[in-house]
């Protein structure tokens, strides 16, 4: 296959970016999208030019490191797949592919297609955990967890933190990421003690960096793990409760 790539190049967070066009020749349909970029980069290096900087690591769709906008879609045209899981058979010979980095004030561009997603870490640091110091745990079967509850917590916990939800959202909102972490921990019995404080802290940290939800649903479509929108609804409800209930008197646990 022969392709034309229109790639966003930007030297640093403060620089102005621009598109540059590269030819990708001898591309095989079985290659992954990132292997295609590897091939282009090796040619750039060996001809003495600066290769395109992009992030990737596990190349099997679980670490959440990779992610670019491909033809206006986060992680490209395949649903439920990360950029590294996208294969070149999704394109036709002669196509021009537009590749851009995630754009959001919360994700400043480091270089070219690489962005800084440390705002996600800050959201987690503000409350995305269950405080259980090492050694303090009771037996694992002490608290039975109904299977459906464990399963939905797992659905929420499947988030890989890639940032596609923010990138795809017209408002750069991080509701799907934040609500997935909240749902994972708020649904489990172990997470009840900190449930409302966690919700308050994480939502308010999120809003320092990201936009607000207008219920477009683009985040779910872009999500490589197809995290459902329901978790945003759960977060909205828990947030209201966190502001309304007198937690000292009501206890932390209520339906």
């Amino acid at each position: 296959m022969q392709l034309k790539l229109k790639v966003w190049r930007q030297d640093g967070p403060e620089s102005t970016g621009r598109f540059e066009t590269y030819d990708a020749v001898d591309i095989k349909p079985d290659m992954s999208f990132l292997e295609m970029l590897d091939v282009v980069n090796v040619r750039l290096v060996e001809s003495g030019r600066d290769p395109v900087t992009f992030d990737s690591d596990c190349r099997e769709g679980i670490c959440g490191t990779c992610g670019v906008m491909i033809d206006g879609q986060a992680h490209g045209p395949w649903k439920g797949a990360t950029t590294c899981q996208l294969h070149m058979r999704a394109f036709r010979d002669g196509d021009t592919i537009v590749i851009e980095p995630w754009q959001s004030a919360g994700f400043p561009i480091v270089k070219d297609l690489m962005v800084d997603r440390s705002a996600f870490d800050r959201i987690v640091a503000s409350g995305g955990f269950i405080s259980a110091d090492t050694g303090s745990a009771p037996d694992g079967n002490e608290i039975p967890i109904p299977k459906p509850v464990a399963d939905s917590a797992m659905d929420a916990a499947a988030c890989i933190g890639c940032g596609a939800c923010v990138a795809a959202c017209p408002n750069s909102a991080a509701q799907l990421f934040t609500s997935a972490k909240l749902a994972h921990l708020n649904l489990l019995p172990q997470g009840q003690a900190q449930r409302f404080r966690r919700t308050e802290d994480m939502v308010e940290t999120m809003e320092q960096f990201f936009g607000s939800c207008t219920n477009h649903g683009e985040c779910h479509e872009a999500c490589p793990k197809e995290v459902p929108l329901d978790f945003i609804a759960l977060m909205n409800r828990d947030y209201l409760k966190s502001k309304m209930k007198n937690r000292k008197l009501a206890g932390q646990v209520f339906p």
Binding site: G12, P29, D30, M31, S32, L34, E35, D38, V39, V42, L44, V45, E46, G48, D50, P51, T53, D57, C58, E60, G61, C63, G64, T65, A81, Q85, H87, V110, M114, D116, R117, S118, D121, V124, A125, S126, G127, F129, I130, S131, D133, T134, G135, A137, P138, D139, G140, I143, P144, K147, A150, A153, M154, A157, A158, G161, H184, L188, Q190, G191
Partner: protein
């Protein structure tokens, strides 16, 4: 630099079941109020690193943690699929700490320390509890109790799992615990920095030198102790199931500063990966081993058979695992089935466009169970396979082939996880300690978390207690200055080579040598050939590699440093493989096999750990031996017939 290396394993004495408890009682402690006076540097944020950093910060130590990823959550522990073992005996099927201990020692082909393995089995129980308390959503039964499955040939169900994403969930648990400490200011997180040197002063590790991957700044950090949790070195093979950035640089730089490197030839090849489709392939994808529960593995009986699978009649198919190992069949252990696949592919029975795989066939299972049941069990794996290969595994057999996956070898550590450099520790896959010559399925996660959550928090105080009152070595010390200068010089050296080929090219070439001669099966001739080819390729590499750009964000520069260290390490792997004149676990020397082609150990001469010391030149390591004694497990020949 030549150091005297003494391999004192510091294994406690007494009955094996009491050793860990007695040891915890006998180590020196640091008073809670004094813990904040100590700074501990943790490199790596996978299961071992994140768990250690979080646990030490909870105890009150000053912790600084470093990762080259943009977030601690990206470490490659996240990609583990299957599960984590825990000797809970929730299934009432006769499991116990002693059985897990026994299975692990035997599975490791009797090349691990009994006391370490027993401790691992003891702690496995606490790990499950700890993870549940953190909110790891392990699979549950309808009654709400934890579910288990059997794994990797074990005869009991002791594997806890969270869908096919157990590693991800365990890592997120450790990451969240770490981020809690970061948020509270008890732990300082440095992302996008790569450790490039360990600083040793007066024989003690006192800090590290890092390079910021965004700004290029070379920085020094000093601490009372340095913990390396930097993973394994499977990427020495270039094509492996490890992540693109997984590397051995931190461990190798520590080795150069005096830490002995143990058993580098013990590498594990996972039998069920998707074969490479072309030479540009950057990595291999692992398919969960659970597929072997229902799939049948076969190759055509004829040589270079190009017919599609469905046109090969039943009597022209060779179900070789069922034929050779009738009792275990398709469930034979990883090393055994990997080697069988290699033998058949090498003798011309390979399938697929490049003749580089074997079939894993589900048609029988689909006929027996129905497509719905198969979809329910393996649907996500089938989807993944179809996405990568564009072949529908419901209609045609999968193509699989073994791929490098895990390295049992690593930095030599004593019972306290300290390397041969005082104050320098190695945790998780980066050390050599618990798996012997072969790792059992679902044990890697267990070992990483055991080291991080439970072992290091108890053993580190033994070293730190003596340092009470000593301030950290200031980063203005000449030792730091010379290490920083070394790192900066190295960076400049790579940027100024100005050759013609990319670092990627040399990595791939190196990987071919290592895979061909030091892969699933090794022999003297091949290893000697590798030992002459690697230095030759290295001298071309250092003069002909091309690194564009400057010291700021420069992924080629990151890569070239890692590849350079892989060259040295690969050479040591081959030397170790040549030196170990026996076959055991992941190390198979063709000269040493039984009549049936199984690994033949030599317990008289090689019931030991080989730890190699750095002498200043790659290819001239000093050899040190730690004998292994087995008091509780009898040495036997593994048999899976």
């Amino acid at each position: 630099m030549t150091q005297t290396i003494s391999l004192d394993s510091k294994v406690p004495t007494g009955p094996i079941a009491d050793r860990w408890n007695n040891h915890k009682f006998s180590v020196k402690l640091v008073n809670p109020n004094n813990k904040r006076k100590f700074t501990v540097l943790v490199v790596g944020t996978g299961l071992a690193g994140a768990a250690a950093a979080a646990s030490l910060a909870q105890l009150g130590y000053n912790v600084k943690v470093f990762t080259y990823h943009d977030s601690p959550r990206r470490a490659h522990s996240i990609a583990a699929q299957g599960g984590i073992n825990g000797a809970k005996n929730y299934k009432n099927d006769g499991d116990s700490i002693h059985r897990l201990f026994y299975d692990t020692v035997k599975g490791g082909d009797f090349r691990s320390r009994e006391a370490n393995v027993h401790r691992l089995a003891e702690v496995s129980v606490n790990i499950i509890d700890q993870c549940v308390a953190q909110g790891v959503p392990f699979a549950r039964e309808y009654g709400g109790m934890l579910d288990n499955r059997s794994f990797g040939g074990a005869q009991v169900s002791r594997t806890f799992y969270a869908k096919g994403q157990t590693g991800q969930q365990l890592l997120l648990g450790a990451y969240q615990a770490l981020m809690e400490q970061v948020g509270q200011g008890t732990c300082e997180l440095h992302t996008k920095v790569e450790m490039l040197d360990v600083v040793v002063k007066d024989g003690r590790a006192c800090g590290i030198v890092t390079r910021d991957l965004t700004t290029g700044e070379v920085q020094s950090h000093s601490g009372h102790a340095v913990l390396l949790a930097t993973g394994g070195y499977s990427n020495a093979f270039y094509l492996s199931t490890n992540a693109m950035n997984s590397n051995a640089t931190a461990a190798w730089r520590a080795h150069k500063k005096g830490a002995a490197f143990a058993n580098p030839c013990y590498t594990q090849i996972h039998p069920t990966c998707i074969p490479a489709s072309d030479e540009f392939q950057s990595k291999l994808t692992l398919m969960s081993e659970s597929l072997r529960n229902d799939g049948r593995i076969w190759v055509p009986k004829g040589i270079d058979d190009n017919r599609p699978a469905d046109q090969i009649p039943e009597d022209e198919r060779d179900y070789y695992l069922e034929r050779i190992y009738p009792s275990y069949g398709n469930l034979a252990p990883r090393d055994v089935s990997s080697r069988a696949a290699k033998r058949l592919v090498d003798s011309g029975h390979g399938i697929g466009p490049l003749h580089n795989g074997v079939f894993l066939d589900f048609s029988e299972a689909i006929n027996r169970l129905g497509e719905a049941v198969v979809r329910d069990r393996y649907g996500n794996l089938f989807d993944m396979y179809q996405r990568i290969t564009d072949e529908n595994p419901y209609n045609m057999p999968m193509r699989i082939y073994p791929a490098p996956h895990y390295t049992m070898g690593g930095l030599w550590v004593d019972y306290n996880l300290m390397t041969t450099v005082p104050g320098l520790y190695a945790l998780g896959e980066a050390n050599f300690s618990d798996h012997g010559a072969n790792r059992l399925g679902a044990s890697a996660l267990m070992q990483g978390l055991s080291d991080g959550y439970f072992v290091i928090p108890s053993t580190i105080s033994d070293y730190l207690a003596d340092l009470l009152g000593d301030p950290v070595v200031p980063t203005t010390d000449p030792e730091f200055a010379s290490a920083e200068a070394g790192v900066s010089d190295e960076v400049q050296k790579w940027l100024s080579v100005g050759g013609t080929r990319s670092a990627e090219h040399y990595h791939r070439e190196l990987g071919k040598i290592v895979w061909d001669y030091c892969g699933m099966a090794r022999n003297r001739t091949g290893l000697e050939k590798a030992l002459s080819e690697i230095p030759a390729l290295r001298s071309e590499f250092v003069t002909n590699v091309r690194i564009p750009g400057d010291t700021s964000v420069n992924q080629e520069l990151e890569k070239v440093q890692r590849v350079a260290d892989f060259f040295d390490l690969a050479e040591l792997m081959c030397r170790d493989a040549l030196d170990r004149e026996e076959s055991c676990g992941g190390h198979f020397r063709e000269e040493y096999q039984t009549d049936e082609g199984e690994a033949l150990r030599n317990d008289d001469d090689f019931c030991n750990v080989t730890a190699w010391g750095w002498t200043g030149q790659p290819g001239e390591p000093s050899k040190h031996v730690e004998p292994l004694e087995f008091e509780y497990v009898k040495l036997t020949q593994r048999s899976y017939k």
